[in-house]
């Protein structure tokens, strides 16, 4: 195999953005056009959670219960002028997009919270939102150093305030100097503030034991989602049997399936092996890609490591195998590594795809195209609300990089406070600096609490007959398998609900605990799961786990 093989993403196959274009570039929204080729539709989408549709259409009206007067409709029958924009005339792809993490079960949880606050009696005192990976919402404390620097950046007059340690002030100054007009309110370059990208590059070099990193390959993003979405936009093209196929793990983080639905790409599922702690099997990858080649053009392979919702941490060997596979099948690798600091299990270690790639032979290291993603939302920071993130792009064709830059510039720039925060994350206090001790204490406390909760969750859930939970090796979730009795499956089907949605809805109504059914993430046919975060404070988590146990036992009895 020639070492200088042509890169897959040559600019010919990437949609070139051009001004005022009238004709459709082949297959841009091809898959979802009315009368479009049905073969271009997503390959066996895992059944996404769906409650009955009245809940959906009416969700926008639920605000009336808050006592807010509704928008006046033409009630006097003045002119029944048909709307320009209706369900039938709107963009058909938009309708296909669903986000399980924010779907109907969360809407119901919000309603219940409201009912509770209005004094309605419930079998529980509070709704516990164990559905979303939002650490601060569950009481995790922010890192003091980060917040101090960001406060100084927001209101620089505080630089004269003696309560702030010196290192926070020098950091704030450094950040402000790299902002236009010394203000976080200025736009930054689309790719992100230069000095922040350099700091990110230095972090990656340190993290990966000296493997070089070029700051020009670093793109700051609005959370990792922004980067992932942008890369998918670049990759998706073609029509019919040449329509781009993207391999995603099942179970997966629903952003991927939603993005693929929105882009009209073909979703190629590869199943993680539940019996082997959710590990990735190359044979399964091979099966998936072979089958997919019959009706689409597989071009990308997405890996989430540590996994969401499964928490598995890939071994180094596994990562190498995946890289060889991607090279052989000419797939662009997308490595979602936002949980890179969340590794708990003994014997498990985070290995970045970049590092492993660069330590392989040149025929791989110099050719396999890779994008790695990170964000400020997880790990020990939990700063979801800042929408900070970056991606590192390896071995991408230069012309395609230009297109990438163009695409990114449409949204102008990532939020500057998020960029500043990312700078601090990759460049934390060092030994000897005034904030170092506190920083280490806080980080250690958060990470060890998570490790403890990961273990606790696995332990307690495994004591329940009918629930089986793989070790939570990393990330922030448990994804236990549940057995649902036939009777319950029947009732769920009659209601038009997925059985695990039915289960989770019941759990919510009876215990106030909000989880996300496995059907929202994808699972093997005939199996059921739920995803629960390990984020609530330990004492609350214990109560939560016991309630889940009790509910499950009741549920089994009720439907036996």
């Amino acid at each position: 195999m020639s070492a200088t093989r042509m890169q897959m993403l040559s600019s010919r196959s990437v949609r070139l953005l051009s001004r005022g274009r009238n004709e459709m570039l082949a297959g841009r929204s091809g898959a979802q056009r009315p009368g479009g080729d049905p073969r271009t539709r997503s390959l066996t989408c895992p059944p996404l959670s769906s409650s009955s549709s009245p809940g959906r259409a009416l969700s926008s009206l639920s605000a009336t219960r808050r006592g807010l007067p509704k928008e006046k409709m033409s009630e006097n029958g003045i002119m029944s002028r048909a709307k320009v924009l209706t369900i039938d005339t709107m963009n058909p792809t938009v309708k296909k997009v669903e986000y399980a993490v924010r779907g109907p079960i969360v809407q119901r949880a919000v309603e219940l919270e409201r009912e509770l606050s209005e004094g309605m009696k419930k079998p529980f005192a509070e709704v516990i939102r164990a559905n979303i990976g939002d650490a601060h919402a569950m009481g995790q404390q922010p890192i003091t150093f980060f917040r101090q620097v960001l406060a100084l950046c927001s209101y620089p007059e505080l630089l004269s305030d003696s309560t702030f340690p010196e290192d926070t002030k020098s950091r704030a100054c450094r950040i402000l100097q790299s902002c236009g007009g010394n203000s976080m309110g200025s736009y930054s370059a689309s790719q992100g503030i230069d000095s922040v990208r350099q700091d990110v590059a230095s972090y990656i070099v340190r993290r990966d034991g000296g493997v070089p990193c070029d700051p020009n390959n670093i793109y700051l993003t609005t959370g990792a989602s922004d980067g992932i979405m942008t890369m998918l936009k670049l990759l998706v093209c073609g029509e019919g049997t040449t329509r781009t196929g993207v391999m995603i793990p099942i179970p997966q983080y629903p952003l991927y399936s939603a993005a693929l639905a929105e882009l009209g790409a073909v979703q190629i599922n590869y199943f993680l092996n539940e019996e082997k702690c959710w590990s990735l099997d190359i044979t399964e990858l091979q099966r998936a890609v072979n089958e997919a080649r019959q009706h689409c053009n597989p071009r990308a392979l997405c890996i989430i490591n540590p996994g969401n919702p499964t928490g598995q941490v890939q071994s180094r060997q596994c990562i190498e195998d995946v890289i060889r596979f991607a090279a052989k099948e000419r797939l662009f690798l997308m490595a979602d590594e936002v949980y890179q600091d969340n590794v708990y299990a003994e014997g498990c270690q985070f290995h970045s795809f970049k590092k492993v790639l660069f330590e392989m032979e040149p025929e791989y290291a110099e050719t396999v195209e890779l994008a790695s993603f990170h964000s400020t939302s997880k790990c020990y920071m939990g700063e979801c609300g800042f929408r900070g993130g970056y991606m590192e792009i390896i071995n991408m064709d230069d012309e395609v990089k230009d297109q990438l830059t163009k695409l990114l510039s449409v949204r102008l720039c990532p939020p500057v406070p998020g960029q500043a925060l990312m700078d601090l994350v990759v460049n934390p206090p060092q030994p000897g600096e005034p904030s170092y001790d506190t920083f280490i204490k806080e980080r250690t406390a958060t990470l060890s609490a998570l490790a403890e909760k990961a273990k606790l969750t696995e332990q307690v859930l495994n004591t329940v007959q009918g629930i089986s939970c793989n070790p939570v090796q990393g990330a922030m979730y448990s994804f236990p398998r549940i057995t649902i009795p036939e009777k319950a499956i029947k009732e769920a089907t009659e209601k038009g609900q997925q059985p695990d949605m039915f289960y989770c809805m019941k759990m919510l109504e009876e215990t106030g605990i909000c989880l996300v059914p496995g059907s929202g993430f994808g699972q093997k046919d005939g199996t059921y799961h739920f995803r629960m975060t390990i984020l609530p404070p330990t004492d609350k988590l214990k109560i939560l786990l016991n309630k889940v146990k009790e509910f499950h036992q009741r549920f089994i009895q009720q439907y036996s």
Partner: protein
């Protein structure tokens, strides 16, 4: 001087806004004696609205309900017409909001592909945005000789010329105009609304510079207000989406990336998809959302921070007004340059009457247009970065932004 970035140009941020944000980011500052009381009270209120009392938490995808409510109150106060929180969607900047709205209404293919009417000139960011949204662009000329006013004839012309190659479905307009600085009067707005109603177009109205109208005898009136004060046949049916953001002249927090759209008269089933689409962004940056709250509900008379706030805002407005006049006068004195007066916003859009020689040079240098070449030279020789008019859609004459 090409981008709409007031902080880069060293107009200062609003102190109250930054103080409250600092406290929200680092709540220990609630104990800080140097900060005014109203700052602390507001910060506390905002923190209570955040999940877990932290700006680091996600919010609901359409934005914190507290902030949506504040925005609704602001609009109600501004227009004297009720506005409701559930019609407000907070996004990461008005760019994102426009993208979501346009994507929702984009459908069809080939000659039935959705078309969007856009002004010429338009904001330089609009072309790449609409390109990505994959809609057909239908430009309508603004009347330079009339201060860049909107003229019905031109709207009709644009429609006629494009009916066969697309299905026009929406009309985008900015008021105050970007980059023209034109501010529409009520009559002009009514005309556009009637046109949109007759031609079945959804109105997409960018009102980001509503806070900076300085022209004599001009004031900002929102499209929503005008719409609701028209006959029921319009007021209750014309679909309207209005946009606003932190990138306004007086606040200028472009880097914080937050804005909102108010959606009016939209089919309720379609409304669901505004929120659903926003789920993919998870949530708008929280510091930006809080800044929106502070923008729409500033210090009130009697509050400790009121005087400073008023001073700062008046200074910004005065600077803009003064500069607009001075620069326009100065440009008009230059040979080969003519500049319409601006009544609002942060840009001027002078016309350049360039000598023939430059056309040749542009061809030789393979530069797309003469005004692009002019801007390149301006940058290289004087270190001044201005925007070329052609990126705002003016192709047969030369302009600068």
């Amino acid at each position: 001087v090409s981008s709409g970035d007031t902080h880069r140009a060293v107009l200062k941020p609003v102190s109250f806004l930054r103080q409250v944000l600092a406290v929200c980011v680092y709540p220990e500052l609630l104990e800080d004696k140097s900060l005014p009381l109203d700052v602390k009270i507001r910060a506390q209120k905002l923190l209570e609205a955040c999940d877990g009392g932290s700006v680091g938490s996600y919010t609901a995808s359409s934005g914190l309900s507290h902030v949506r409510q504040s925005i609704a109150e602001f609009i109600t106060k501004r227009d004297g017409i009720p506005s409701f929180a559930e019609n407000i969607f907070i996004c990461a900047g008005s760019q994102r909001a426009i993208m979501i709205a346009v994507k929702l209404l984009a459908s069809g293919e080939g000659t039935t592909r959705t078309g969007v009417l856009i002004p010429a000139p338009c904001p330089h960011t609009l072309y790449p945005l609409l390109d990505e949204a994959d809609v057909v662009l239908v430009p309508y000329q603004l009347m330079e000789e009339k201060g860049w006013a909107v003229e019905l004839d031109k709207l009709h012309q644009a429609l006629q010329a494009n009916r066969r190659n697309c299905e026009p479905r929406a009309i985008y307009i900015s008021n105050p105009g970007n980059p023209t600085g034109h501010v529409q009067d009520r009559k002009s707005i009514e005309e556009v609304i009637q046109f949109a109603a007759a031609e079945r177009l959804i109105l997409l109205v960018d009102e980001v510079y509503q806070d900076s109208v300085y022209g004599k005898d001009r004031e900002f009136i929102s499209y929503k207000k005008v719409l609701f004060e028209m006959d029921k046949e319009y007021a209750e049916t014309v679909e309207l989406v209005s946009f606003h953001s932190l990138s306004s002249a007086c606040v200028g927090e472009c880097g914080m990336r937050a804005g909102y759209m108010e959606v009016v008269n939209m089919d309720p089933e379609v409304m669901y998809y505004f929120d659903n689409t926003l789920c993919g962004d998870i949530s708008t940056p929280v510091t930006g959302q809080l800044a929106l709250d502070l923008m729409v509900i500033p210090p009130q008379p009697g509050d400790p921070s009121y005087d400073t706030y008023i001073q700062e805002t008046l200074f910004t407005l005065a600077t803009l007004s003064h500069n607009a006049k001075r620069v326009q006068e100065f440009l008009n004195k230059l040979p080969g340059v003519s500049c319409q007066p601006a009544m609002g916003g942060i840009y001027l859009f002078p016309r350049l009457h360039l000598p023939c020689g430059i056309k040749e040079q542009a061809k030789v240098g393979n530069v797309p247009k003469n005004d692009v070449l002019y801007c390149q030279k301006l940058l290289e020789e004087e270190g001044v970065l201005a925007g070329a008019g052609q990126y705002g859609g003016i192709t047969d004459s030369c302009h600068l932004r």
